[in-house]
């Protein structure tokens, strides 16, 4: 009896966790089929009307575009910078060990706090950034007053917070690479660039891609950094899908419509994650071939 029960008991925590995730998801999905709002607490079944309304709204397409720009910009910049930092730290071991500890600091700050700190630093008249740029004749920059400036500033804060995450993952990857292919390349007289291109990068790719998956998915779901920095402005220039969903569901109390936005966002993240995870499998097989 004990032997037959044990396997089931072992999966109970996982089962509870799964139910805890799936129940609100299922409930949310169910709500989207109604016109549930504060103004209509006894809603009617409208089936797919909320999704039709979402996809026919200009605001949705604007938010979708801003979300993609943000996610690609943030994840791209973080990957390039993170991998570069990891390569630098990997080469100079003593300095690297000290810098590693400093590098982790932004990760210890809650993103919303980081955004508030940056908001103060980017303030044109009293912010420290313009004060530092003043000697170079660049002191009057209005960082978040223009649509492009607001989006780039938001991406910059994201990059500041999360580049260390990518760097640490890439550094861990670099340190776990097998030594023998590099030794063989050195014996054959291969140069640094050749070794990097043909050995380091292909073997490091799986680690980099894991970082990209995490950062890209996270950036698609961004809320805190942008809301604290710009509230979605100026105009609608930084209203990403999560902010739109928050405004619709919480501020404007159109619950079903707001949840429809999150379901659409979920579908986008799921698709992106599926494609990237599939790609990760291929990259892993290639890396295994290179390391021999």
């Amino acid at each position: 009896m004990r032997r037959t029960l044990r396997p089931y008991l072992l999966v109970v925590p996982a089962l509870l966790l799964t139910c805890g995730i799936l129940y609100p998801f299922g409930l949310g999905l169910y709500y989207t089929l109604f016109d549930f709002s504060a103004a209509k607490p006894q809603p009617d079944l409208v089936r797919w009307e909320n999704y039709r309304a979402v996809f026919t709204q200009d605001a949705f397409w604007n938010s979708a575009w801003v979300t993609v720009l943000y996610a690609v910009g943030a994840a791209g910049a973080e990957t390039v910078l993170g991998v570069s930092v990891a390569l630098l730290l990997h080469r100079s071991s003593r300095v690297g060990r000290i810098l590693e500890k400093i590098l982790i600091l932004p990760l210890m700050i809650a993103p919303v706090i980081a955004a508030i700190i940056w908001k103060l630093m980017l303030q044109p008249s009293v912010g420290v950034v313009n004060h530092l740029l003043e000697p170079f004749g660049l002191g009057g920059v209005q960082w978040t007053d223009t649509p492009t400036g607001a989006l780039l500033s938001s991406i910059a804060v994201d990059v500041w917070v999360y580049t260390p995450f990518v760097a640490i993952l890439a550094l861990a990857g670099l340190r776990s690479l097998p030594a023998s292919p590099f030794e063989a390349a050195a014996v054959d007289g291969a140069g640094w660039w050749y070794t990097f291109r043909r050995l380091t990068l292909p073997m490091l790719w799986p680690y980099v891609l894991v970082a990209v998956i995490f950062r890209f998915m996270d950036s698609l779901k961004v809320f805190d950094i942008i809301y604290a920095l710009t509230e979605g402005g100026p105009g609608d220039s930084t209203v990403v899908l999560q902010i739109r969903a928050y405004l619709e569901a919480i501020r404007f109390q159109r619950y079903s419509f707001g949840i429809s936005y999150t379901i659409v966002l979920w579908a986008v993240v799921y698709l992106a994650a599926t494609v990237l995870v599939r790609h990760l499998g291929r990259i892993q097989r290639k890396a295994a071939e290179v390391s021999g």
Partner: protein
């Protein structure tokens, strides 16, 4: 084996994606979150006999409060309420950024976590139609439930009317149920730095054209006159409903403009009328010529701080935003801030928009009788007089407090404060059209204002806004 790897990856992708929908759990309100389900009668009818402050002795009332100087005055005086009634009050205080989200989620959940709470008149338009707010009218009219000294006639009538509505979109305030009681309010006027005005030989503006010019002059000349980095006028600019209601809506109303027109019970957006477009263009131009850098992130807090830090020559916002910088020792500008009603409209109008911190009751509360005693006490003469004299509960909602010699004596040291208050008090009212989509409309309006400030055509932006809103308020 391959299939297992594939399944594991699919699971990873699925669970990762599921976390994209955090709102799902936040919105777990469930259908039927409406209030007042127990029959049509008011619980006030159950209170009979002679009025007694000790009627609910031993009860505990739970309040949800916003962090505010008015709240500090209330909390400091709670023991006198408990002594008077035998009712304990427990409370949660949230900062304003999260306060209304917390209140909205709590009320929409249909729970009765809080018996009483702070709200603004605009929130009545959102919380009233779903039945989340108790109609306080029957309580006010019941002599067994309400003390004679509470004296309804002592409130400024426009403030009491602000919480009274028939719950019909477009219907004027002052008719229907009383869903909130005035407790503390703010009128929107101009406060200015007397030092810079004296040094540059300036006078407060009497028309909007003068205000625009004045803002530009200060921005241009003040830095050279010893006011390093000073700009002309601080007004809100963030992408929030709160950007529209203070200075902007006040000047908009003084120009005789409306947000919506109502014909045959139907609302039609009016913020794109030719005169409204012209005014909005002028407002954006004023901000460009004399406003703060990074205006699109400006909330009341930055506006108020800039006046206090001698960065802003003028502030067109709530009088309290200037008051808290003007009191002795509060800021570098304290003692150098004066008040003025602000520019008149073309026809001499001083129509002013207001914000009222009101108190309301949860329609689902199980302690309504005790909650009503708390609301009576908190909006009563005794507490409000004490709060005005010993704390910073300024802008009294009661005529008796505003005429109290001790209060007037206390406020006299602020140049122009009492005169300004008296000039606008009767003309200050809610200038918006009551309707449930208020927050959507004003948030979108603030976003439109930012776009116009950014250089887009006011005509096309406001036409787009009106087009969007026409569908939503239909």
């Amino acid at each position: 084996m391959d299939r297992h790897v594939h399944d594991r990856r699919r699971f990873l992708a699925l669970t990762g994606a599921l976390s994209a929908a955090p709102l799902l759990s936040a919105c777990g309100a469930g259908f039927g979150g409406g209030g007042q389900s127990e029959g049509d009668g008011s619980a006030a009818d159950d209170v009979t006999g002679a009025f007694d402050w000790k009627r609910e002795k031993g009860t505990t009332v739970k309040a949800l409060l916003n962090k505010h100087p008015y709240t500090d005055a209330l909390i400091a005086d709670l023991t006198s309420f408990t002594d008077k009634t035998g009712i304990e009050v427990t409370y949660d205080v949230f900062p304003e950024d999260n306060y209304f989200d917390k209140l909205t989620v709590d009320l929409s959940s249909g729970r009765a976590s809080y018996d009483v709470f702070m709200l603004g008149a605009y929130m009545v338009w959102q919380y009233g139609p779903p039945g989340w707010l108790e109609d306080l009218g029957p309580w006010m009219r019941n002599a067994s439930a309400t003390a004679a000294e509470w004296d309804r006639a002592d409130f400024f009538p426009n403030l009491l009317q602000a919480g009274q509505w028939s719950l019909k979109a477009g219907a004027p305030l002052g008719r229907g149920g009383q869903y909130a009681l005035p407790w503390g309010w703010e009128t929107n006027v101009v406060a200015y730095n007397t030092e810079v005005f004296r040094k540059l030989g300036l006078k407060p503006a009497e028309s909007f054209e003068e205000l625009r010019e004045l803002a530009g002059v200060i921005k241009k000349r003040a830095p050279g006159a010893g006011f390093d980095g000073m700009y002309g006028i601080a007004v809100r600019g963030s992408r929030s409903w709160a950007t529209i209601h203070p200075g902007f809506m006040t000047m908009y109303a003084r120009n005789g403009l409306r947000d919506f027109t109502v014909e045959g019970g139907k609302l039609s957006p009016a913020m794109n009328s030719p005169r409204a477009v012209a005014f909005t263009e002028d407002w954006a131009a004023m901000v460009k010529e004399g406003g703060p850098p990074s205006w699109t992130s400006y909330t009341w807090y930055q506006c108020s701080s800039d006046l206090g830090a001698r960065k802003a020559g003028m502030l067109f916002d709530a009088d309290t935003a200037a008051y808290f910088q003007a009191v002795e020792g509060a800021s570098p500008a304290s003692g150098k801030i004066a008040f003025h009603p602000g520019p008149k409209g073309p026809d001499g109008s001083l129509a002013t928009n207001m914000w009222i911190w009101s108190l309301g009751m949860n329609a689902r509360s199980r302690r309504k009788s005790a909650g009503w005693l708390f609301l009576q006490w908190a909006t009563g003469k005794e507490h409000l007089r004490r709060a005005a004299l010993t704390h910073h509960h300024i802008d009294p909602v009661r005529k008796s407090v505003s005429q109290d010699p001790a209060y007037r004596n206390r406020m006299r040291h602020l140049p122009g404060f009492l005169e300004t208050f008296e000039t606008v008090v009767d003309r200050t009212r809610i200038q918006f059209t009551p309707q449930a989509q208020f927050f959507d409309a004003t948030t979108s309006w603030a976003a439109a204002l930012q776009e116009i400030y950014g250089g887009k055509s006011a005509r096309s932006v406001l036409d787009g806004l009106a087009g969007d809103l026409r569908e939503k308020v239909r």
